[in-house]
């Protein structure tokens, strides 16, 4: 059985928390004591049924205000698949939290209120999905019960969305008409929409093909830790421990160590007491090389025939996440997997108005702003373009005055 992480984009007004609550409730994922707590709560729907939305609001401030502020993770499984839901806030002032939840997801559910159709918020959420390169998109047209389960409404909205999806180059979009409140097409197929022949949301989530399309060539493993027991019997033991970011490594593969550029051959692969011949993206492993090369944390081992980009000047999309605005005069820390180096923003190329998708020239860059910058690093970075290889194409910026994570970076090009 495999695992699918997905996130939901939409606001409470679109019924996002209700949709998640419905998924959990109708898959029997809510246990009796949680249900009891739910029934005792004084938040009820107008018709007296329990308000499923409170299942996901974890913080006191969220329950008080009836909004989602931070990402909440929820877990459920069916006999086909295990799921992790990142329930992310939809309001513009929490864009950074949505980016956080979306960064590890393989699939996005974008909620549209069928009464309102494609609105500013839909454009913003879809833009973020496109920016983060989420492979699979489900557009859930919610509140179909409020528009008489009308096929005409559904078709009109999907046509409009397809134009947006094309503009944003979204890869795979699936439209599902639902009512989270009434339970139509969430887990069970709706009896009110005979005209809809597709799968229910859950059925789609269970069956969508999310296997990694990995090129063997893009073998990358950042070194996190060097295992050196330094005991008498293991005197010469030197294992490079890390998680394979992408691609595959095999015994006898020729590898290059970056940034030094020295090369060697994989002698042995270990996963604790196992000695696999080959390891793949996602696995935490220990590699042994034939030659004694100088390798420490922050270095990356890559396929010697398919080197990544190597540069100190990089064009990147940035999502700003701190209340202190971007400051071109100070030096930040850039963390790219296990590598940390100093970095400065050399230039703000443009800022995107994420409600209209217009690119604008900008002098300042504030919380939740998204756009393109040129970044200069102290050390050369061995990276891939985000579109080619997400796992090795992203980084964060840290403000060394506060130690806060202030920006998400997606590498787009080597800058001249």
């Amino acid at each position: 059985m495999n695992l699918l992480k997905f996130f939901t984009a939409g606001s409470v007004d679109d019924g996002k928390s209700t949709l998640i609550g419905r998924l959990l409730y109708d898959t029997d994922s809510i246990l009796a004591d949680q249900l009891e707590a739910l029934q005792q709560s004084n938040r009820k729907n107008d018709d007296g049924t329990i308000d499923l939305a409170i299942l996901t609001d974890g913080l006191r401030a969220e329950r008080e205000q009836g909004i989602t502020i931070d990402v909440a993770y929820k877990y459920f499984q069916t006999d086909k698949r295990k799921f992790i839901i990142a329930d992310t806030p939809g309001h513009i002032q929490y864009t950074r939290n949505m980016v956080t939840g979306a960064s590890t997801a393989k699939l996005a559910i974008i909620l549209i209120d069928a009464r309102n159709g494609v609105v500013e918020q839909t454009i913003r959420h879809s833009y973020l999905v496109s920016l983060l390169g989420i492979e699979h998109v489900v557009v859930a047209l919610n509140k179909m019960d409020m528009v008489d389960y009308s096929e005409t409404v559904f078709t009109a909205i999907t046509e409009k969305y397809k134009t947006l999806a094309a503009e944003l180059k979204l890869k795979e979009v699936t439209f599902i008409p639902v009512s989270a409140l009434k339970g139509d097409n969430i887990v069970h197929e709706s009896k009110h929409m005979e005209w809809y022949q597709g799968r229910s949301l859950l059925h789609f989530l269970e069956t969508v093909d999310v296997e990694d399309q990995q090129s063997y060539n893009l073998a990358r493993m950042p070194v996190q830790w060097v295992v050196r027991p330094q005991t008498d019997e293991l005197h010469d033991y030197r294992g490079y421990a890390g998680r394979v970011l992408s691609g595959s490594f095999k015994v006898n593969d020729k590898v290059t160590v970056l940034p030094s550029g020295s090369s060697s051959v994989i002698e042995r692969i270990e996963i604790f007491d196992q000695r696999p011949e080959e390891v793949h993206a996602g696995q935490s492993v220990t590699l042994h090389l034939k030659d004694n090369v100088d390798i420490s944390r922050g270095d990356v081992l890559v396929n010697a025939d398919h080197l990544p980009q190597n540069s100190k000047l990089i064009e990147a999309d940035v999502c700003w996440m701190d209340t202190r605005p971007l400051d071109e005069s100070i030096t930040y820390l850039l963390q790219h997997n296990s590598k940390v180096t100093k970095a400065k923003i050399n230039e703000i190329v443009y800022k995107v108005d994420i409600n209209t998708l217009e690119k604008q020239s900008a002098v300042d860059f504030k919380l939740n702003d998204i756009g393109r910058v040129v970044i200069k690093t102290a050390d050369e970075l061995a990276f891939d373009l985000y579109t080619d290889n997400k796992a090795n194409g992203a980084a964060i910026l840290i403000d060394s005055r506060t130690n806060l994570t202030v920006a998400a970076l997606m590498f787009r090009a080597v800058a001249d």
């Binding site: 059985m1 495999n2 695992l3 246990l31 009796a32 004591d33 609001d57 974890g58 913080l59 006191r60 401030a61 329950r63 931070d70 990402v71 993770y73 929820k74 877990y75 295990k82 950074r96 980016v99 956080t100 960064s103 590890t104 999310v210 296997e211 990694d212 990995q214 090129s215 063997y216 996190q224 830790w225 295992v227 050196r228 027991p229 005991t231 293991l234 421990a241 890390g242 998680r243 595959s248 604790f272 993206a281 996602g282 696995q283 935490s284 944390r297 820390l333 963390q335 790219h336 296990s338 796992a391 992203a394 980084a395 964060i396 840290i398 060394s400 130690n403 806060l404 994570t405 998400a408």
Partner: protein, 301 residues
């Protein structure tokens, strides 16, 4: 192009090992908080997978409430001997003797809340900058919101409104002096995942996880082990029942469930069919809707 996909337990394991190695790489003085429960036992197994044949780059730290199940302590000592790793114990009794905390009184008295002070003192005494814990997001709704690297201030407090964004698999462990980070490598595991992993890896657990006969009393609808640590009076009726525990905490706040499951396959079947969450058997979470959030803000795990 080749297609490749990890089984979910392999994926969860690989993620946890990655997180443990990040702790080792990013911090000067990390520690692994070991409670003797199945979650921290799982962490120890993951640490072996992350660092063997090398030594762990951190000691194990046990906050001892003094109200332990004796089976837990026996298990702990045997495990430490097998591992050959360092164990540091912080005693709640010491905090009481020093007058830093006051023992609760009354029928529902527990030392569970007191251990926060002992934990913070132990962190300060040894200068730990990162503490690895076995908390999971599926346990409780405040935990569902917490980051994997959770920065705590000088007073150990969690501030849910000021959490750092945590992007991709990149963990920012930078802190100021006096602050520390709580790290939760099995954040994304569920209770059932832990049990399936324990089974797959053939990990030995303390015997109290398996059905056994024990003297119990019923309190607030929960089955509690009769022990000298529980304030009992004539209203309490002691009954011998076949029970097991789903979590292992302070004896005065950990409730048992009646069970016939005496081997791991039965436990997995029982949990799969169960309609009560694991923390439903923890008196400490029953206080209010925000009980866990409030304790975390106060410095709890």
């Amino acid at each position: 192009m080749s297609k490749y996909n990890l089984d979910y337990l392999d994926e969860l394991e690989a993620e946890a090992i990655h997180i443990l190695r990040e702790v080792a790489g990013q911090f000067e003085k990390p520690a692994l908080l070991f409670s003797g429960g199945k979650d921290s036992i799982t962490l120890v197994r993951l640490a072996e997978k992350a660092f063997r044949p090398g030594k762990f780059p951190f000691p194990l730290v046990h906050i001892d409430t003094g109200h332990n199940f004796e089976e837990t302590i026996a298990y702990r000592d045997k495990m430490v001997e097998r591992l050959g790793e360092k164990l540091i114990v912080g005693h709640v009794q010491e905090s009481i003797d020093q007058g830093k905390v006051v023992e609760q009184t009354g029928k529902n008295a527990s030392r569970n809340a007191l251990q926060t002070v002992t934990l913070l003192d132990t962190i300060a005494k040894h200068g730990f900058d990162a503490c690895i814990g076995g908390a999971r997001r599926d346990e409780e709704k405040a935990r569902a919101k917490e980051r994997i690297f959770s920065v705590r201030d000088e007073f150990g407090q969690w501030d849910p409104k000021r959490q750092r964004p945590e992007l991709w698999n990149i963990y920012n462990g930078k802190i100021h002096k006096g602050e520390n980070v709580r790290v939760f490598p099995i954040s994304n595991w569920t209770e059932l995942d832990v049990w399936n992993y324990v089974k797959r890896e053939n990990i030995e657990l303390p015997s109290i996880y398996f059905a056994h006969y024990r003297d119990c009393i019923t309190r607030n609808g929960q089955l509690m082990a009769a022990s000298p640590f529980l304030n009992m009076d004539e209203e309490d009726i002691v009954e011998n029942k076949k029970v097991r525990f789903r979590t292992v905490g302070d004896m005065s706040c950990t409730a048992a469930v009646e069970s016939e499951a005496d081997e791991i396959g039965d436990i997995i079947a029982e949990i799969s069919a169960s309609k009560i969450s694991e923390r439903g058997a923890r008196m400490d979470d029953k206080v209010s809707e925000a009980a866990m959030e409030d304790r975390k803000k106060g410095g709890y795990f």
